[in-house]
């Protein structure tokens, strides 16, 4: 554990040998952490390493079984989140929880709105205070705008402003960038730097390693609830960090096999959905992984939804293995051999309250049937087979999927679709929000599927993933396909240029 060489300021918040167990699970075992004013400190670890438990301990949600929480060097006991907030600790979650119908200003001061005579709300003072907070963050957001129209990035800014309004000195950011676009991340980092210069301590969690290198000074790594290392980021490589997190050398994160493409399996011709995307044409061949890049909102997900039949298309045609599909009919798309692993696994990929078995079974309602009745034996063995093949970590196949970690949930979604034996697999953000170990497994799986002759279309906002996995990269910008780039020519620059509309191919 390295401390800053100078004696400098004391840590504003620290954990000392903290342990926390839930039943038989030891979520934290003797973890120590020091946050200094003016420091952005990364917390790294795979899903299940104990990051969330650590955050919740700092935020007063959990009380440690052993060890101490130190505030300004003094031991404190938080009896609840309110205590931690009063001590100046704020948590910004990945998905902000604002009241959609209230304005930004009202959201920030909810529960303690300034009053005038007779208990009337002092809107003027509320607005002014909000404007002052925004100015401090260097962001332009109208205090009167309702929260409902805000992007996730803007909502996070509002949450940060709210934290500042409580005089937060410690800001804990739990995967704040997971749903943001490149430029939104840049703006968020601008805000974080401003806070740092104003002397706040920031604990930053992200699965995107390059972000840790961009903005953090030190990084603390957890593995299986244990403290592994706290190090200066400068001088480390991504490989070093990954090794700390997984405890072994990862085989490559992008294990792409070279495959000679076969015949065209998915052919999309002049596909148009009015006001959403226009004149989109492309082919995906057997054995190919085709990346679909672009900014969030460029229409990539919408194209995937239309191809699979979730939404109707207004013009154009989709052909799978020579068979034209009907607009707006997922069941015919499935019958033709198409599978879609959707973007939002909690709402679209899985029925969260249903078991692993039933979720995987949902795509087999036409096949695991005997004489019109469900063949439960076949349903179970199909689910078990794929859960085991994909190494899903679960206690029982009949447990509901909401008991699984994010990475394992994603594996269940993949299992559910691979069990259909697809000819064409569309994956939309297949590794968003999952840890680096599982990510490598998903990549290996996609690569193997392609090698077995499946045509894979991979939508991703993770550029290294696109560049590492795709044989060809299609780029969308504002509802149109703007470029097709061969693997050999695809770089961050060429893809981003096309994605931002700077260079039309």
């Amino acid at each position: 554990m390295t401390h800053p060489s100078d004696t400098g300021p004391a840590p504003v918040l620290a954990l000392k040998d903290v342990a926390k167990s839930f039943g038989a699970v030891r979520a934290l075992r003797g973890v120590s952490l020091e946050l200094f004013p003016g420091e952005v400190h990364a917390l790294a670890g795979e899903n299940g390493a104990g990051k969330s438990t650590l955050i919740k301990t700092l935020a007063g949600v959990h009380r440690p079984d052993a060890g101490r929480v130190l505030l300004d060097g003094e031991p404190v006991v938080f009896h609840g989140p309110g205590d931690a907030r009063d001590a100046g600790i704020a948590v910004i979650y990945q998905e902000p929880t604002l009241f959609p119908d209230l304005s930004i200003a009202e959201n920030i001061f909810m529960g303690r709105l300034p009053r005038r005579a007779f208990g009337r709300i002092d809107h003027k003072a509320t607005r002014a205070a909000t404007a002052a907070l925004m100015k401090r963050l260097g962001v332009e957001l109208d205090p009167d705008r309702p929260a409902s129209g805000l992007s996730i990035a803007d909502q996070q800014i509002v949450e940060i402003a709210k934290a500042l309004s409580f005089d937060a000195r410690v800001l804990i950011m739990d995967e704040p960038t997971a749903a943001l676009t490149g430029s939104e991340v840049a703006r968020l980092f601008g805000v974080v730097r401003t806070l740092r210069e104003q002397g706040a301590a920031v604990l930053f969690i992200s699965h995107r390693l390059e972000e840790i290198f961009e903005i953090c000074r030190r990084v603390t790594t957890l593995r299986d609830g244990a403290w592994i290392a706290t190090e200066q980021v400068a001088g480390m490589t991504e490989d070093d960090l990954v090794r700390r997190m997984v405890g072994r050398d990862l085989d490559e994160l992008y294990p792409k096999q070279d495959v000679t493409p076969g015949e065209v399996a998915l052919s999309v011709r002049r596909l148009t959905r009015e006001g959403v995307f226009t004149d989109v044409s492309f082919d995906v061949r057997r054995g190919e992984i085709v990346g679909l890049a672009g900014l969030v909102g460029a229409g990539r997900t919408e194209v995937a939804r239309a191809v699979f039949g979730i939404d109707r298309w207004d013009a154009g045609e989709v052909v799978v293995d020579g068979r034209p599909l009907t607009s707006g009919a997922p069941s015919t798309a499935m019958a033709a051999g198409l599978a879609l692993v959707p973007e939002d696994r909690r709402a679209q990929g899985l029925v969260m309250d249903m078991s692993i078995e039933r979720n995987i079974g949902l795509t087999g309602l036409r096949t695991t049937v005997r004489a019109g009745l469900m063949d439960r034996g076949a349903e179970r063995s199909r689910a078990l087979d794929w859960a085991i093949r994909l190494q899903v970590k679960y206690a029982r196949i009949a447990d509901t999927v909401n008991t699984l970690s994010g990475g394992n949930q994603q594996k269940v979604v993949l299992a559910k679709w691979l069990a259909t034996g697809p000819q064409v697999l569309i994956v939309d953000e297949p590794t968003r929000g999952i840890d680096v170990g599982t990510k490598a497994e998903v990549h290996r799986l996609l690569s193997e599927l392609a090698a077995d002759g499946v045509a894979v279309l991979m939508i991703s906002s993770d550029l290294p993933e696109i560049l590492g996995m795709a044989d060809r990269v299609l780029v969308m910008h504002e509802g149109r396909l703007t470029a097709e780039i061969a693997r050999t020519e695809a770089t961050e620059e060429t893809v981003m240029a096309a994605a931002t509309g700077r260079a039309a191919a």
């Binding site: 699970v25 969330s52 979730i310 997922p330 679209q348 029925v351 309250d353 970590k393």
Partner: protein
């Protein structure tokens, strides 16, 4: 790691419908032993005969609620069927011709509900409150305040008669057949499996290729058909076709279905539980009447049972989710 071949995810539902079934059995044993007049054949046949309309409508209602929808217009559809039956009988049509017409009418009523919900995307609660009023209004227009009672004797006998020397109504057998069909459809077919998925996660079901709208349209239509069948049975059973037949039936049905452990939010429950709930409510009311419990007190008891029924499965589920969570955490610690 994998430790297959148990199904805890259904424990809570199974346990709750088990609880309802056990309470029903205890109540029946208690009543046979201690309640004067309960065990005689006449009372039992009254009990079952009065409960059958609720049970008949509860079959499709269970499927609807499992899929996350509801139909409040069932009693009005039943009333409308009875009214049309009476009006056509007065016109001189034969009963053999009238019954198919009434059933078709039920199909239309259900179809209207279903189309409004699936095509226009309206919430079924609102749609069927509307058609609850509309169908009842049409019934009154059709029949006015008349009561038609002179249906053919063999039909009245069937609807009110008993099986041989037993206490079982003759109509009980067809109900058992319909119940068996409904159980198989809900719990053993891909269709039923899809209904649970729709109720628990409609969007995810759609993304898995389930034809959500078609499933719902079929359910509403079948519900209309069953409601009109119930309306026909009602008019014959009580030998009276009036426009206000079966008023309030929908509340009894929904109360019983919820009592049986069908989650109002959809996606959970068993048909066995729902029907146990129907007969538990029916038996409880019968016993209270025999014990000269005032009608007002009966309503209070029913209301308390309902609150308990909505609360019970949730508590049971939370316990089992907490267990599952601990078990999953034991194998894969979630951070």
């Amino acid at each position: 790691m994998p430790e297959p071949l148990t199904r805890p995810s259904r424990w809570s539902a199974l346990r709750w419908d088990g609880v309802v079934g056990a309470v029903l059995i205890v109540l029946l044993l208690f009543s046979f032993t201690f309640v004067d007049g309960f065990g005689n054949a006449l009372n039992l046949s009254f009990l079952i005969g009065n409960t059958l309309p609720i049970a008949l409508v509860a079959l499709p209602m269970t499927l609807l609620v499992v899929s996350g929808e509801i139909d409040l217009s069932v009693a009005s559809t039943a009333g409308l069927s009875g009214a049309v039956m009476g009006a056509l009988w007065n016109q001189g049509m034969t009963i053999e011709a009238i019954i198919p017409v009434c059933l078709l009418l039920g199909v239309v009523c259900g179809l209207v509900n279903g189309l409004l919900v699936t095509r226009l995307g309206l919430p079924s609660l609102a749609v069927t409150i509307g058609t609850l009023a509309a169908y009842r209004g049409i019934a009154q227009i059709v029949l006015g305040s008349d009561a038609v009672t002179d249906f053919p004797a063999q039909y009245l006998d069937f609807a009110a008669g008993r099986l041989g020397d037993t206490f079982l109504p003759q109509a009980f057998l067809p109900f058992v057949v319909l119940f068996a069909i409904a159980v198989v459809v809900l719990h053993a077919t891909p269709f039923g499996r899809s209904l649970f998925a729709i109720g628990a996660g409609e969007e995810a079901a759609r993304f898995a290729g389930v034809r959500v709208k078609r499933h719902k349209l079929i359910l509403f239509t079948v519900t209309g058909l069953m409601a009109s069948l119930t309306g026909i049975f009602w008019a014959l059973h009580y030998a009276s076709a009036r426009y206000d037949n079966a008023t309030g039936l929908e509340l009894s049905v929904i109360a019983a279905v919820l009592l049986g452990g069908i989650d109002f939010d959809g996606g959970k429950g068993t048909l066995g539980g729902a029907i146990a709930g129907v007969f538990l409510l029916g038996a409880a009311q019968n016993v209270m009447s025999l014990q000269d419990v005032s009608a007002q007190s009966q309503i209070v008891v029913t209301g308390v049972l309902l609150v308990v029924s909505v609360l019970g499965p949730r508590v049971a589920r939370q316990i089992s989710v907490a267990r599952a969570g601990r078990r999953a955490a034991a194998s894969t610690p979630t951070s």
